[in-house]
């Protein structure tokens, strides 16, 4: 029997080849169209439900972050190494009922700023008189961020400033002045840190301190003994500084319990957040690690933590920030971790991880980031919050790494070494010179509106978040006690921004200002579940969340058109549970933890 192929004449073959060419060309055209097409159907951008206005200057905030100048031995990549340090944290340090703001700068001689909220929409910088301005000094290091927490439970918010250098703990003396108690607290440790969180891991009513480390602690960026200070992998680096856990002994002193608890990751951690993620009553710790996979430390009854990677190991990336929020109103805290994306070069893709740790069939996180949320450029800080008070979380992401010469990009140079052998790029001297190049600079922030199953839509432009600064930290706070979340952004080497939020509807809301008694006074770690008309929302009072940021202590819940709340369940850090039925709405409720 003759071979069928032998029966095919050249003309037949030519015809068939032509027929194959049609879908072939179609595939190329399809690729071009897919490239140009929006990743999702556009949202109704004319009605995102709120407007953000840049009212920084009107509020009297004139803070500009300055980046550090480092050892000339690494001058070739100084813009890269010195690209962090802009931070913002929120607390009512003077107890007047208005949230205040603390910004850090990172250059020797440049002051940090403590903006006291006057309550009339304006702020005044009182850092100098408070004793919190002059923290960037040779020998001590430069500020990278701060977290507020009442570590001595005296009713006044204290503050820890973490630096590329020594930690600095300040006790709030009288609501106006702060005293450096670092030495007395046993915290005089050199640690090149970009993050810290307050967490009462053993539920003894005292805030403990978890400090993340970036460069090793033997690295002094102003007096380098070696230039081999960089990461040993772009994806699986383990040669970063060691994170530290300090146990609050209650007598003003802290004890290093890192090894005892097993939380000393050396994965170049950029951000940490604590919450009871598996809902067993004990706060767990979630880490976003640069050059490596995320890590989840599960708290074993305050005795020890076990490192777990339930669903976090599928891809290793460059974790920049971790924000916790109830994404789909399921009553669980999910995690959003920012990463790097640059068109054509690298799509590490942000992770939006739905928490299924409590689902006995899953016991893991499940990444559900659609392309819109996955690509926010070189993303840094992020926060969940209900910006339009409709009862679902929005997601604010700041981004942009280095904006310098807009015509020169470092990405091509970066691509040379990024895939290379670790021995080469571990040495800072090997890196191509940065010069005045930009690296994912001039990126617009993303403001994602949650449309449920329809996915997320970026409405940044339509709501007015149009700055192109290199955002690092973003925090939410109801600065005017209006029942509305305002947005504060710390930008690297650039001015800070206050976006005041103007919802365009009369949606209802409720806010809770909690005070711990058996728990720490700041109520950090308290998780609140609000139940309304079948909708459940969970939020947590954070001891630091996002990247180099901390949100308003008061928990804000949008209620949409519903003007009632069925009940509120408060899970206090002490383990106590409190239920409030039918509380009043459109108010800030002050709740004190029952003493028994």
């Amino acid at each position: 029997m003759p071979d069928k192929a032998a029966l095919r004449t050249p003309s037949h073959q030519g015809l068939r080849r032509l027929l194959i060419a049609i879908p072939f060309l179609g595939a190329i055209i399809a690729a071009i169209r897919m490239d140009a097409a929006p990743t999702r159907a556009p949202a109704d951008v004319t009605h995102p439900g709120f407007t953000l206005r840049d009212e920084t200057a009107a509020a009297g905030i004139h803070f500009v972050h300055h980046r550090p100048t480092l050892d000339p031995k690494i001058a070739n990549i100084e813009p890269h190494v010195a690209a962090l340090g802009a931070s913002v944290s929120v607390a009512d340090f003077d107890g007047d009922g208005w949230p205040d703001l603390y910004f850090t700068s990172s250059k020797f001689g440049e002051p940090n700023a403590l903006y006291r909220n006057r309550g009339d929409g304006t702020f005044e910088d009182v850092a100098a008189s408070a004793g919190l301005a002059d923290l960037n000094r040779p020998g001590d290091g430069v500020s990278m961020g701060s977290v507020w927490g009442d570590f001595d439970n005296d009713g006044r918010e204290d503050i820890l400033v973490y630096r590329y250098g020594y930690l600095a703990l300040f006790k709030n003396i009288d609501g106006h002045h702060f005293q450096d108690v670092t030495e007395a607290a046993g915290l005089h440790r050199w640690i090149n840190s970009n993050g810290a969180i307050w967490v009462d891991y053993d539920r003894d009513g005292l805030l403990d301190l978890y400090v993340t480390a970036y460069f090793r602690d033997d690295v002094d960026l102003w007096h380098l003994s070696t230039t081999r200070i960089m990461h040993n992998s772009f994806e699986f680096a383990t040669n970063g500084g060691k994170n530290l856990m300090f146990h609050n002994l209650g007598n003003g002193r802290f004890e290093d319990v890192t090894d005892k608890l097993g939380v000393g990751s050396t994965r170049w951690t950029l951000a940490a957040a604590a919450a009871d993620l598996n809902e067993d009553g004990w706060p767990d710790i979630y880490l976003a690690n640069d050059y490596g996979p995320e890590e989840l430390y599960i708290n074993d009854h305050g005795k020890r933590f076990t490192l777990q990677t339930p669903g976090l190991e599928s891809e290793s990336k460059s974790g920049m920030a971790v924000a916790l929020g109830d994404v789909f109103n399921r009553g669980h805290l999910d995690a959003f971790v920012t990463n790097i994306s640059e068109k054509g070069y690298l799509f590490q893709n942000n992770n939006l991880r739905v928490n299924e740790l409590n689902d006995p069939t899953q016991r893991r996180f499940h990444n559900v980031a659609d392309p819109v949320v996955a690509d926010a450029g070189w993303a840094w800080g992020a926060q969940f919050g209900d910006l339009n008070n409709d009862g679902t979380n929005e997601l604010f992401v700041v981004n942009g790494f280095i904006s310098d010469d807009p015509k020169t990009s470092y990405w091509y140079s970066m691509s040379k070494i990024a895939g290379a052998n670790a021995r080469l790029f571990e040495d800072a001297k090997t890196w191509p010179a940065f010069g005045h190049a930009s690296l994912s600079g001039f990126e617009p922030s993303r403001v994602y509106v949650n449309r449920g199953l329809a996915g997320w839509a970026d409405v940044a432009k339509s709501v007015g978040a149009t700055d192109l600064y290199d955002g690092r930290a973003v925090a939410f706070a109801d600065l005017s006690n209006r029942g509305v979340l305002d947005v504060i952004i710390a930008n690297q080497n650039q001015p800070a921004i206050l976006y005041r939020n103007y919802p365009d509807s009369s949606n209802h809301w409720i806010e809770l200002a909690l005070t711990g008694t058996r728990s720490n006074r700041s109520a950090i770690g308290a998780e609140v579940v609000v139940e309304t008309s079948g909708i459940t929302q969970r939020r947590i009072i954070d001891g630091g969340m996002g990247f180099a940021s901390q949100n308003d202590r008061r928990l804000h819940f949008g209620l949409g058109h519903t003007d009632w709340v069925d009940r509120i369940v408060i899970h206090w850090p002490s383990g106590a549970q409190q239920i409030l039925s039918n509380p009043a709405v459109d108010k800030i409720l002050a709740i004190t933890e029952p003493k028994s």
Partner: protein, 294 residues
């Protein structure tokens, strides 16, 4: 117990038997090893659905097109290799899968459409990657540092790669390209007064390992004579160096050239060289069979 009636065959050692093995099996085995090592150690795939989609697209396309064009379904080894290569190399935005569908289809279909004298001209994976980088730079990137930066893993790939490249008799192409890359880019760095190390660093990365063992050495798309194979490998390195020079100088090249200069260089030089080779040899169209390439 032996079969007395059987015809006696001289007993062969495994390496002697392996000499008669179709090279495609060796290449398929190596790339499977690479995939396994990369996934088990680094989770480099980024989701098994990507692997499934790429493999299915490549094999189904190969089966359908070979049946349609040649009246029979050809060996699917090369489609398998293409599927694995695309899975390793393509890194798309978000969790999108269409680049694996379009990439797989383009890789295989290119063999049936872009022919000269009955032979295809582009390495299928090289064509698909170059095409996607040029057509969809906002949605697609390629393997960079997702594969760790560990010398041990790279060494394993190099050892197995060299053994198999030697077996397939293309090791001179690999080595010529590597030496040319090192020399030319050192020269480029010197000319531009740049440090040499960053300029030769890329060759130590995983993308280049896939390139030197699975693309530039593709038996079906390299020219035939050893001498010309060496010249073409040098030319690929020359064009790549020229592209990098352009990137250094800030020429307004499409992003694809900055991201994958080696891919683009091969996509430019390879088909031209192959076409000239075919024209010189006067090769006749093949009536059946399928290219055995990745």
């Amino acid at each position: 117990m032996t079969d007395a009636g059987a015809v006696s065959q001289p007993s062969l050692r495994w390496w002697q038997r392996s000499r008669s093995l179709d090279p495609r099996y060796l290449i398929a085995g190596l790339i499977t090893l690479v995939l396994l090592a990369a996934q088990l150690r680094y989770h480099v795939v980024g989701g098994y659905e990507r692997l499934a989609v790429a493999l299915l697209t490549c094999t189904i396309t190969e089966a359908l097109l070979s049946w349609f064009a040649r009246g029979r379904v050809v060996n699917l080894q090369s489609a398998y290799i293409s599927g694995i290569s695309l899975t390793l190399l393509l890194k798309p935005q978000g969790a999108t899968l269409w680049p694996f569908v379009l990439g797989g289809f383009l890789a295989i279909a290119s063999k049936y459409v872009l022919q000269y004298r009955g032979n295809h001209l582009w390495n299928p994976t090289n064509f698909a990657i170059s095409c996607l980088l040029l057509a969809a730079p906002n949605r697609v990137s390629v393997l960079s540092h997702q594969w760790g930066n560990d010398v041990a893993t790279n060494l394993v790939i190099w050892v197995f790669g060299l053994v198999i490249a030697a077996r397939v008799r293309v090791v001179h192409i690999t080595l010529t390209y590597v030496v040319s890359f090192l020399v030319l880019n050192s020269l480029r760095a010197t000319l531009l007064h740049q440090p040499v190390l960053p300029e030769i660093a890329p060759i130590t990365g995983p993308m280049y390992q896939l390139f030197v063992f699975f693309m530039i050495t593709d038996p079906r798309t390299v020219v035939r004579e050893r001498r010309w194979q060496i010249i073409v490998a040098v030319l690929v390195a020359v064009v790549e160096t020229a592209i990098r020079f352009g990137s250094d100088q800030g020429w307004p090249l499409p992003t694809a050239f900055n991201v994958g200069p080696a891919f683009l260089a091969l996509a430019i030089v390879g088909p031209i060289a192959k076409a000239i080779d075919l024209a010189r040899s006067g090769a006749m169209p093949r009536s059946a069979g399928s290219p055995a390439t990745s």
